[in-house]
Symmetry: C2
Subunit: 337 residues, 2 copies
Amino acid sequence: MASPVTVSVDAMGGDNAPNVVIEGTRLALEADPDLRVLLCGSEEVIAPLCQDTDRCIAVPTTQVISMAEHPAEAVRKKKDSSIVRGCTLVREGEAQGFFSAGSTGACLTAATLIMGRAKGVKRPALGVIIPAYDRPVFLMDVGANADCKADYLAQFAQMGTIYMQSVLGVDAPRVGLLNIGEEDTKGSSFALEAYAALKAHVPGFAGNCEGGDLVAGAFDVVVTDGFTGNICLKTIEGTSKLIFKHLKGALTSSLSAKMGALLVKGSLSELKAELDPDRYGGSPLLGVKGTCIVGHGSSNAQAIKNGILAGCAQVREGVSQKVAEAFAPLKPAAEGE
Amino acid sequence: MASPVTVSVDAMGGDNAPNVVIEGTRLALEADPDLRVLLCGSEEVIAPLCQDTDRCIAVPTTQVISMAEHPAEAVRKKKDSSIVRGCTLVREGEAQGFFSAGSTGACLTAATLIMGRAKGVKRPALGVIIPAYDRPVFLMDVGANADCKADYLAQFAQMGTIYMQSVLGVDAPRVGLLNIGEEDTKGSSFALEAYAALKAHVPGFAGNCEGGDLVAGAFDVVVTDGFTGNICLKTIEGTSKLIFKHLKGALTSSLSAKMGALLVKGSLSELKAELDPDRYGGSPLLGVKGTCIVGHGSSNAQAIKNGILAGCAQVREGVSQKVAEAFAPLKPAAEGE
């Protein structure tokens, strides 16, 4: 039996909320008998699932933060929103983790302000698992910090290393710096500084990772600033979407292609599922006091389920405690690992 | 009849040089009867093709700059290298364009130092055509300037606009700024500055372009700094390679898939060719006095041919003259278009 975990879930967040979120939560509760969910959302939305199982507890809220709102402003003003309430439950110890597929900006702001930064962590950052060639790769930061200092990246590397060791069981993660050349003399002035910081503070640092190496799976953890990381992530998603769109066209372009398409359909669906970022269900925000997982706005029920279960795994592996210990004050970051 | 063009070609550059370069040059000469090539390379390598046709003139050189060498140092020291000689022929007016699939860094350095920057251009930059969903997109800078100032990006936009209008016949190119959100308040502090510069100086500026929008073809010209652009380009190439690799696996995973694969093979090859960056044959370095096209190191003969022909097109359309006129001194850049 796994240890019991309580996760607060934002029922109102995501392009297809609340229906897919409710459905995804139901799937997560079915998959993990030791999971309890505090479901935050408007009363009529959350009532049915909460009536069905006593492992889903209703937390009625009256406000919703939309994707279009200014994150900091919305978090400040909407105290009774599902995102703010969900994060507050973690701060108060009612839940250990929070999951939302809503506004990424609002989730990051709420988690950072309400749960608080772990002591010694300069900037919490958003990571994501990229399904690379023969293994998952953890890319960080993918958007929490558009402007970074070089030493933040050393911390991202340390947090990413803890995540990959704890949640994905990678023994000694190889850390790479996203850069535009393999040699240590290559890159922008920021990348050169980051290289030096990584070399000094991260035992697993294995050098520069070019854009193409990232998806080839040459490293386990790849760090970059939130601007480059976000562009990189969206470029991977966009390119993948583009190719499958083209593929669909190619497979209906002639009679023989159509016949062949029927035969390869199963293999292609499997491939699409394998490359689907939703498989890993959401991005962890590391460096806050608690677990916070942000799902893709376009998440389907399966992705919601995976996101909630990823939150459980992170709680059970004690990732946020390990991060807190690694960065505990009075110990330089280099020795904190 | 097209106007006659002379292009100097580096026979020694590229992973598969000199054979594929010689073969690609032969194909280019066959395709364009008004093309003359000054073939720079070691005597025994270039002699056969030069004996075959009087439109290929031998320029024997004794040195080669390898991919591993430090670009600036190599260009300074190896005066009789194929890259330095090729660029010198353009400066001396013997050729109008230069093509190489060798060290990108050495080509950029040689072209900038030897041909010289066009007056008013702050930084020459490397562009590349991305085969996006339903149209080609010009991404710039993809690696000439790892560190950029915001106003460079406005110039990249102006140069990219000229290129797309002249070479690809796009009437009024829509210019996007690669960024991490659509709203004008999104992005790093650098991106916010660049947004302001583009808004002030680029009539075709149409807003921010996220990583996924780039390959979706939402814009005709997308500008960014050379660090982000290079990572973005390599990420697209890497993701595409990864998916086709997986695809190959998926199509041989079962008997029915194998049978289907035979039927879809033709369509898939067409698709791969369509998405192949080599289709457009190399990246133009814009902002120097002359035409300089840098091919992918892994170029095959077809890519070499396309790169040389892309150089011809650029010469015939007078791109470098148009750029020079646009940035002529005593005219602010904004009015120079």
